[in-house]
């Protein structure tokens, strides 16, 4: 009888613990996502990239580790501390990873928005040389991302930044850029970040939206 109680207890406990507790994958993902969201130096992004690379290797069927690995590489590619060659190296890696993520999860609005972000980073590495040819590609990628999920706040705010650049160039009004920024900000404000974090969904981009909305006012 004692034995039976014990077994039932153990079973019950284990079931409960599965329900209540994250898997090791989720646990480490959440920890690393928290870290990358706070990261602001080249070394920290490098550490994040390495961490997500380790996670991706153990979880080859999940798109999130690849996505975050690519994101960490993209942030590195935006760093002013790197030479053009080094930026391109980081961004090529990011592009490769984003493609792999897309291979696992096709038509994913977040991954496509990230691809647009990578293209944007390539332009900012060499605006004079690449602006004309790659700006259109970045815009198209954000467009595709929004066609799948019109409420993707990251695609909206990055597109807003592209539009702002175009408006500055043509000396035209910022209405379109600002309306996109406003939309993005509204979505960021309305969403429950904790719920998204629990689902390992991307939450970054809020700061960009906040600062751009402010400059629009």
């Amino acid at each position: 009888m004692k034995k039976l109680t014990f077994i039932i207890t153990v079973l019950l406990l284990s079931v409960l613990s599965v329900k209540a507790q994250d898997s090791p994958f989720q646990k480490i993902m959440k920890k690393e996502i928290e870290k990358i969201n706070k990261a602001d130096s080249l070394a920290q992004f490098q550490q994040s990239a390495n961490a997500f690379s380790r996670i991706a290797e153990l979880n080859p069927t999940e798109w999130q580790p690849l996505y975050y690995h690519a994101l960490a590489c993209t942030f590195q590619g935006l760093s002013n501390k790197l030479t053009l060659d080094q930026k391109d190296e980081a961004l090529a890696k990011a592009e490769d990873l984003a493609k792999k993520a897309e291979g696992i999860s096709a038509d994913n609005s977040e991954i496509i928005a990230l691809k647009g972000f990578i293209t944007m980073a390539k332009v900012s590495a060499d605006p004079a040389g690449r602006g004309q040819s790659l700006s259109g590609q970045a815009l198209a990628e954000f467009g595709r991302s929004l066609a799948i999920d019109s409420k993707n706040p990251r695609a909206l705010i990055l597109m807003a930044q592209m539009e702002a650049g175009i408006a500055r160039f043509f000396g035209s009004g910022m209405e379109k850029a600002c309306s996109l920024a406003k939309q993005s900000m509204a979505i960021f404000a309305a969403q429950d970040e904790e719920v998204l974090k629990a689902a390992m969904k991307p939450t970054w981009g809020r700061r960009i939206a906040e600062s751009m909305s402010k400059s629009c006012e």
Partner: protein
Amino acid sequence: MKLYFTILIFFTAFAASAGTKISGIVTNQKGEAVPGSNVYIKGSYDGTSSDVNGNFSFETDSSGKQILMVQALGFKPQETVIECAGQIIELEIKLSESINLLTAVTVTAGAMEAGDEKKSVVLKPLDIVTTSGAMGDITGALLTLPGTSTVGNDGRLFVRGGDASETSIFIDGLQVGNAYGSTASNVPTRNRFSANLFKGSFFSTGGYSAEYGQALSSALALNTLDLPLRSQGDVSIMSVGGGYTQTLTGKQNALTASANYYNLAPYQSLVKQDFDWEKSPESWDSEISLRHKWGNASNGKAGFIKAYFHTEGNRMTIWQKIPGGNSRGDRVQLRNRYSYSNISFRHSGKKDWFFYGGVAFSHNSDALKLNADPLCRINQLAHAKLVAVKDFSPRFSFKNGLEWFVKAYSEALTDVNLKRSYTDHQPNHFAEATYYFSNRLIMVAGVRSGHSSLAKQFWMTPRFSVAWKLDNQGQFSFAAGKFKQLPEEKIRVLQNNLQNTAATHYILNYFFASNNRTFRAESFYKIYDHLVTYDDAAGNYSNFSQNGSGYARGVDFFYRDRKSIKETDFWITYSFVDSRRKYAAYETRVQPSFAPKHNGSIVVKHFASALKSQLGTSWSWNSGYPFSNPNRTDDMQQKTKMYSDLSISWSYLPRPHIILHVACSNVLGRNNVFGYRYASQPDESGTYAGLPVGQGAKRFAFAALFITISRDKNANQLNNL
């Protein structure tokens, strides 16, 4: 129960003692720290990154034999077996370099690439269309590059003492026959293909890969766009015509169809012309391009197929004065029909295999009428190609290709029922091995062989190149090779059994690219052999032999800077060519008329944001064209005055989707002369009368409005400029 308790205790104790601390340093082979490398226990989440000094330290709960992985960008991943038993493990990891194609050395000898992101580029794809003076012509933009000579009465590409036929042109790897529009003699032509079609180009002025054959001097490979960004319609309204292009895009497919019409009559009626046109050039063209992508690049198998069809028609009638004559001269009437179709594919398969190839067919027919005599010429070229590339390791790849060319030519005097023609089959094979000794040293060796059914000749040509990257951003490369080309069709049709002409190239190149500044210096030596010579009795050729020979040697420089002057991009080119050859009807080695000794150009583009405009100017110059004056006994001893052309252009973007473009060539109105034509018989005083070969008009002005219609209001036709 007691037992369970014991086990529980045991496990807790074990877990507590299992933490193994692993620390150490990651360096390269020279002992320098490798920061940011990924250090971890394979199969676990335990790991860390090395710091700025290459040091790392972390703990793991794993026990027993484990594999420690160390990975870093630019290095081969390294595995070390460790025993985790609770003790501290100290390690020194030395990583060895891996080959990184993105930053590794590339062979730049002879090569000039136009691409968006690659390192060794000298031009961006957009440059081809935004270079003022080029007027949207691909050739025009390439003529601002080192190693080329502008021959204003021809319009084609002349490379390093070679004539225009010595350059072969390829679209997506497949050869294009009659890439330039048909024209009357001394009336310059243009490339038939719109620069908008292409995403990049590879232009080689010598020493090129075994992949390209039947070209003595140069290869120009143009690569078409993959999937366009969006569906859109493009309207163009020009001073010389108009056109419409519709692009439809799907997820994996795209369709582009376009139609254009050009007529120079209205323009030429307004602006005084030096050519005596009876009927100004008029042309139409239409194109369809289909693209389809398959597979998924992330899991290895993916590919692309492109089909492209182009057809066009041109007509013109011009009167050309005869030296010494008083009449209007010869009346030349030309009607041209041309079609080119090309189906190409590329496919990356499993196990590092890559395949590409396709089939292409060009058909050109010229109905010429010289005064009352009609002449009909038909030129056909079919090309099939299949190439397999295997990467045996990141260091070593091997390329193998099979090609089949069918070249057919016929010319007929229709009113007297005289016709001559030939058909030539040319199977070709090429193989090329690429080996990286390190990221700084690369060697490419190849061999190309072929057979001509008409010449009944088999040939084999070796090619070799090597490149060495220096510690800074500079690199040296050297290329050498043998090149064969069968004579021009107009000669071959007269003498079918003519064999290959031959050239040997040696090229030494220095290339430096850093931070938006590019410098390129190249010296070359080219030896010509087996050139066709003949007797020329007033246009009747006879007594063919292949005893002609010659050389071209020289040096050229290119400097491009997008950084020093704000919002300004400029490049400067200088080419020196010393060339002499015995060819055609010349009895001694002469400097060819198409090889001026000194050539230079300056191209400047300035972005004026306040004016929403791009302003451009280009200046092209050479030291003059040699010509033969029959009033003197020696061949080619005289030279025209120097050639100089200053062009300007202005592109105005009032709205993102509207572009207004205005351009003018030779704004200074310089009277350039490209040579002289002489009477075939001396006049009463015993001298041969001469006429200068000049420009069609002092200047050429061009205005156009480009409007893009799409849901995305920011799209435009920047490519059209």
